[in-house]
Amino acid sequence: MTAAMLLELRNIKKTYRAAKGDVSAVNGVSLSVDRGQFVGVQGPSGCGKTTLLLIAGGLLTPDDGDVAIGGQDPFGLPADQRANYRANNIGFVFQQFHLVPYLNVIENVLAASIAAPHAQAEKRARELIAHVGLESRIHHVPAQLSTGERQRTAFARALLNQPKLLLADEPTGNLDHDNAQAVLGYLKEFSREGAVLMVTHDARAVDYADTVAQIREGQLLQEGVSADTLTSSS
């Protein structure tokens, strides 16, 4: 792992056990994301994109393979330390936004500070909200926001603790063109300082990525991808 490398996945495998037969969600994927890089992983629904992202975020333990985030294996840490590491180093953006329905915009953004409290949290939250253009909606709850506003709120929450790595799961999946462009712009902007790994089936999204990997049935394909950023062991 190089000094610039923020995320490294090596030969990751994950199989879901089911009564009707095992399902191999990720099968031998290797991938790395450097600081300043925006990596997109594109593929159809059910190809293992979200599984790969959850493994990369330290939320889902792989059956096999190695994960290193900033040189640290998150699965080598106890659960509470892993959560703490996640809070301080990784931001998440989901297709469904996953905002807390009873918190307003600023409270939703500040929810990230419960896990990693810091003195400047509210100031930074206001700056982020202003940055995504939601100053006038600061006291509105999610139900009073448009889908684009909800995703921008989720984006601000993901950045509150100044993560090194941003993981985005279909961030534009529920957005119209303009809002999708805006969110992708924010991700692109973040990738200049940190690193972004985005999984999506949206063809528009890949235009913003520095490199794009295609994933099919749990395996990365060689076509159309940079040899530096992705490999497949299959």
């Binding site: 703490n84 809070a87 301080n88 998440f92 989901f94 469904q96 996953h98 009873y102």
Partner: protein, 448 residues
Amino acid sequence: MSVLRLILREIAHRKLNFALAILSVSAAIACLVGAMTLLSAHETRTQAILAQKRSKTESAIADQQAVVAARGKELQDSMRKITKGLGFNILILPQEQDLNEFYAQGTISSSMPEQLVDKLANSSIVTINHLLPMITRKIAWKERDQTILVTGTRGEVPIMHRDRKKPLLDQVPAGTMVVGYQVHTQQNLNKGDKVTMMGKEFTIEKMHPERGTVDDSTVWINLAEAQELFGMQNLVNAILALECNCATEDRVAEIRAEIAGILPGTQVIERGPSALARAEARNEAKKTAVKALEQEKAAARESLAAEENYQAQLLADLESTASILVPVVIIAGALGIALLAFGNVRQRSNEIGVLRAIGLRAPQILWLFLGKALLIGLVGAGVGYGAGFGIGTLWGDLPTAAGTSAHLFSAQVLFLAIVMALVLSGVASWIPAMVAARQDPAVILQEE
């Protein structure tokens, strides 16, 4: 932002869930507090009822005691009157005196030393009063041609260890004579008249009205003069006495026993049984009153015991009902809280997943639910205590005499209610909170 703020915002958002949980805790605590307040009110009411009953009983006993005292006083008065009316009803005679002679002829031929009366007066005798030494002799009053009974007395000898009492009979002064009814009517005597008896002159000092007894044919003279007339210096035939108002079971036997100890060689007889029978009747009346008092006391004790038993039975019934109802309601409350908490966890699974994803640790998720449970417990304790206290006070049916319901308030019960509510809510929410804390965020986030 903090876990507490998150809890408060969630409560504000899901008011119905919070209200239902409060209702569950409140119902359980209200039942507990209500039962305890009811039991306390019952205890207060019981004490008031028993106190009222005791008061009534004491009043009835006091009335009965007053009746007994009145009967006793009546008896005493009666005895005093009877014994006084009887005059000297105890007769102390020489041991050798033939009682047949006394009863058949009304005369006493035996004599005893006069000093015996002083011995008796200086003793500690208690069964008799009013000692009167006397000489009595039936004579034919030759100067007046009439058979009479002559009694010589020196006046009452005071019993030294007792307070002086007004004498029943005044001393007959020397040279004077007191005459009975038959004597003064047959001889046509008047007070101040001079008469001669056995060659000695006497002035009529006093004339008795008709008594219907041997007194009507009796004349009384001074003892010393009688002793001289009959040649009985320093001797007496009898000592008269008045039995005391001792109201004992067997007066005469007691008098005889006491006198025998002081004056051996004497015998004692009692006169006037019919009058004493009336005293006995009064004595029986007193005994009846005393018996009635005892019965009243026994009835009061039984009544109080019955009331205590009744109240104890009521208390046992209440405790029995409470011992079933309270646990059932508490368990139902706990189930209600647990179900609501499970529902809340299920409803918030996405929220839990994303909070875990952004770094909240399992203990923080646990406290997110347990903190809410403790708030529910605190509020539920307050509401439940108020409701339970109100119900207990209203249903407690406190008597007016017991005062206001304020004294039913117990800080200990309030403390117990708070602890119980916190434990109830905390325990019931523990498993749902653990389920929430152990939820795998990856599973939740994959479900979208």
